[in-house]
Structures are given as structure tokens and as C-alpha cells.
């Protein structure tokens, strides 16, 4: 019998609980990550929704930024949602905040607007046979996609889900609905 992989959820701030629930629904053992040593022995990492500036600054002050950068560079499978998409990006369009630089994309924060422009809609996602209901909260989009990065879903012509090897990033929140298909797709594609 094989030991199921343990997935960490970066738990500095944001909707950590919803990701833990989504993973537990798939029967996956989970661990909250708040200190560098919590990264040891993980088979995958989720970077949740939240405020990317808050999460980035906490990671910086508590010595997590460098270990996270190395872990992602070494191929730790990572699912990054909303704030997570911003954090894994190589660059953002405006502003100065700590980034992990693990995915060759340029991301625009709050690209769809403020809260009054937040929305939900059905999306076609590459690899899923039925539409996925996407919840977009003050959501970012991908402004520029690097050559190794594949676009997995779009709203209009804007990429809202991208992947590159083991890293998948979404503008929307797959953890806010009862549908764990994006989590499962990521784990399968990442070889988990």
C-alpha cells in the first residue's frame, strides 16, 4: 500500500480552511504551513486566496520567502489561487511586494476591478469535461504568459488559469465551491 501524499496549505492568512476542506474531501492528508520547517517532507503545496501583500510580507518577516522560493524552484507541486497566483508570479504589472518568481507570467492585481466587480461564472477548463464554476473576488488576471506556460482557462481573452509543469495558478477560487475537480486535476497532473 502506498502512503498518500501530504499536501501543505500556506496558512499565513486567507481562506486556508476552505482549501483544507477541499483536500480532505479528496482523502488527502494535509498540513498547515506557517514556519519554514513545516515545508519538510511535503508532496505538494497550496497557496490560498487572501491578500497577497499580507501573505508576502509575513513570509518575508518569518523567514519563509527563501525556503518557499527554493522549494518551488526544486519542483514542489503547487496550486496557487488568486493571491497565490500573484505570489508565484515572476512579476506583477504595478507595485512592489515580495514574490516567489516560480511561474513565468506577469500578473495584474485587481484586474477585474474592486469588490463591486467581483463575479461568479461558469468556465471551460482544459482537462475538465464539464464547465467549472469560477468565483472571482477582486481577481487578478495573467497579462503576459511565458513560453513554458500553458493557458488552461480564460475569461474573454484574459488567461485566468495557467500551468507550467507542476505549478497551476488560478485567478478564481476553486476552494469556495463544493467542487474539488481543480484540486484533483492539479494533483494528477503534478504526479501526486
Amino acid at each position: 500500500m502506498t502512503v498518500p501524499p501530504t499536501i501543505g496549505v500556506l496558512a499565513l492568512q486567507g481562506d486556508v480552511r476552505e482549501h483544507l476542506v477541499a483536500l480532505e474531501r479528496l482523502g488527502v492528508p494535509t498540513r498547515s504551513v506557517r514556519l519554514a520547517e513545516d515545508l519538510t517532507g511535503l508532496d505538494g503545496l497550496v497557496i490560498p486566496g487572501g491578500e497577497s501583500t499580507t501573505i508576502g510580507r509575513l513570509a518575508e518577516r518569518f523567514g519563509l520567502l527563501h525556503p518557499l522560493r527554493s522549494a518551488l524552484a526544486d519542483g514542489l507541486p503547487t496550486l496557487a489561487t488568486c493571491a497565490g497566483m500573484i505570489l508565484v508570479a515572476g512579476a506583477i504589472v504595478e507595485g512592489d511586494q515580495p514574490l516567489l518568481g516560480a511561474l513565468d507570467v506577469v500578473v495584474r492585481r485587481n484586474a477585474f476591478g474592486r469588490q463591486n466587480e467581483s463575479f461568479e461564472m461558469d468556465l471551460d477548463v482544459k482537462g475538465l469535461d464539464r464547465p467549472f464554476h469560477g468565483v472571482f473576488i477582486r481577481a487578478p488576471w495573467v497579462e503576459k504568459v511565458g513560453s513554458d506556460v500553458e493557458v488552461l482557462a480564460r475569461v474573454g481573452d484574459r488567461p485566468v488559469m495557467v500551468g507550467s509543469g507542476r505549478i497551476v495558478a488560478t485567478s478564481f477560487h476553486p476552494e469556495l465551491t463544493d467542487d474539488s475537480r481543480i484540486h484533483r486535476l492539479w494533483m494528477e497532473d503534478a504526479g501526486g
Binding site: T53, T54, A83, Q115, N116, E120, M121, R138
Partner: protein
């Protein structure tokens, strides 16, 4: 709102969803662009745009109203994190103005002078989500029934004294625990007493928590205060006068953010609390005149 391309805005999921993204974070009262930038730099998840912080509202007296739109816009332009603003209880026109300005959340707040003694704002028709205060479960559920998408305790704002916020979260928690042990009939009686639907009471009983995010607010003045409220089960904290009425706002703001994340790690709280200087002065609740008790506003 339903748009032709299938995008729906202002839904319950989208309104409650923003509050979910604020969890584990600190929302800070600010009165200008400079304070807003200090808050963002320190790691605040959102700021509350105000004309005056609650401690000054207490000191100055008079009628406290929605902040001037120019002030709200100034603060919205200064930061990239969500901006909230307060309207008076029942003042749906102030709320409409704030929605028009594009704030990310409206706080229908007892810190301002109530505008209606009978009705809170009917919050369902708004696209902008609302957060409301609650001293107990019934008050929280009444606000949810009116369309609030986030709840907070109603501790005595501007006192730097956390005791009332503690009372409120303990009341809400123990009332939810009691619901779980009740028969359907007893739950229906509770619903009638709280003046909310039996379905809502049932939902809370089965979840074991509110169906929305529940923050601490009122009287939080130190990193340990913030950690205490997290330990008591709050999803995050609002800090009002506690930051910009302390002797070193920049350091205080960062320390409260850090203590909120590492609330179960006393070593971290001790470390971040070192060398912070003086917290805000604070007030004993027993010394307040009845008219100064802001939590008693609303019902």
C-alpha cells in the same frame, strides 16, 4: 446582477467570499492616505476609511457620520488592499453613496450615531457587501437575515479595553454550542425568540459556526489582545484606535498583524511585542456613562 456573458456580480457567494479572503488578517482604521499606506505596508488585509478614529469620536462628541466622500476616495487611491467605510445604522442613503464610491465593504456601525431607531439597512439589494456588529447570536443572525455578509463583535470602540469584545464572542460561541444540543422544536423556539427563520438557526446548529466570517472588533489595543480574540475563535480582527493612538503606529501595526497569524505561538507574540512603546491609554468600561456605551446602539 446578471450580465449577458454569464457573469454574476453582487451574489451572496461573492459577498461572503471577500470576507473569506480577509480571514486571519487585521483590518485597520485609518483617517488619511498616509495612515492607509502605513497599514498596507505593515500587512493589513484591508483598511477602514474614517473621518476620525473611535477614540476621537468619543472625545469630540457630537453626531458622528459617514466619512466625507473625498476622504474615502483619497484612501481608496492610496492602497491596493480592500477599503471599507462606515455608514450610520439604518442610513441606507449613506450606504448608497459608499456603494457608488466603490468601497469594497460597508460597515453599518454603532460607532457612528444611529440614523434609524427601528430599522437597520436592508442590505440584500446592494452589490457592495456589508459587515455588521453583534453582541450575541440573535443579533448576528438578525443582521444576516437583513443581508449582512460578515459579522464582527461589538466591543467598546475607542476604549482600548477588550473585555466587551470577549463577552460578545463568548456569548456567540456558547449560544451556538447550546443550539447543537437542541431538538428541532427547541431550535424553532430559539429562532422565534431571536426573530429569525428556523432554517437559519438550523444551518448554524449543523455548521457549528456562523455561515459567514466572524471578526473581533472593539477595544483591541495590543498584539496579545489580537491573539486572544483569535484563540476565542474569531476569524480575524479589526483594530481601530489601537494602532494610530499608540506611540509607534508603524511598529504596532506590524506586531498586531504578526500576532494575529501566530496567535497560538506565545514566543512569537512575546518577540513582536518587545520595544513597542506605549499602547493607547485605554478606558475602564465601568467609567463610561450609559450614553457613551456604543455597543448598546442597534438591536
Amino acid at each position: 446582477m446578471d450580465q449577458s456573458n454569464g457573469m454574476k456580480t453582487g451574489t451572496e457567494l461573492v459577498k461572503r467570499g471577500l470576507a473569506d479572503m480577509l480571514k486571519g488578517g487585521v483590518i485597520m482604521d485609518v483617517v488619511d492616505a498616509d495612515q492607509a499606506r502605513i497599514a498596507e505596508e505593515a500587512g493589513a488585509v484591508a483598511v477602514m476609511a474614517l473621518e476620525r478614529v473611535p477614540a476621537d469620536i468619543r472625545k469630540d462628541g457630537g453626531v458622528a457620520r459617514m466619512a466625507n466622500p473625498a476622504k474615502v476616495t483619497e484612501i481608496m487611491g492610496a492602497v491596493t488592499i480592500p477599503v471599507m467605510a462606515k455608514c450610520r445604522i439604518g442610513h441606507f442613503l449613506e450606504a448608497r453613496v459608499l456603494e457608488d464610491l466603490g468601497v469594497d465593504y460597508i460597515d453599518e456601525s454603532e460607532v457612528l450615531t444611529p440614523a434609524d431607531e427601528e430599522f437597520h439597512v436592508d442590505k440584500w439589494p446592494f452589490t457592495t457587501p456589508f459587515v455588521c456588529g453583534a453582541r450575541d447570536l440573535g443579533e448576528g443572525l438578525r443582521r444576516l437575515s437583513e443581508g449582512a455578509a460578515m459579522i464582527r463583535t461589538k466591543g467598546e470602540a475607542g476604549t482600548g479595553n477588550v473585555v466587551e469584545a470577549v463577552r460578545h464572542i463568548r456569548a456567540i460561541t456558547s449560544q451556538m454550542e447550546a443550539l447543537a444540543d437542541m431538538t428541532d422544536e427547541e431550535q424553532a423556539d430559539q429562532a422565534a425568540m431571536m426573530r429569525v427563520s428556523p432554517e437559519l438557526v438550523k444551518e448554524v446548529a449543523s455548521l457549528g459556526r456562523l455561515p459567514v466570517v466572524n471578526f473581533a472588533a472593539g477595544g483591541i489595543a495590543t498584539p496579545s489582545d489580537a491573539a486572544l480574540m483569535m484563540a476565542l475563535g474569531c476569524d480575524g480582527v479589526f483594530v481601530g484606535s489601537g494602532i494610530f493612538k499608540s506611540s509607534q503606529p508603524t511598529a504596532y501595526a506590524a506586531a498586531i498583524v504578526e500576532a494575529t497569524t501566530y496567535w497560538d505561538n506565545p514566543g512569537v507574540i512575546a518577540k513582536v511585542s518587545r520595544g513597542l512603546g506605549e499602547p493607547m491609554r485605554g478606558k475602564e468600561i465601568g467609567t463610561l456613562e450609559p450614553a457613551e456605551r456604543l455597543a448598546a446602539r442597534g438591536w
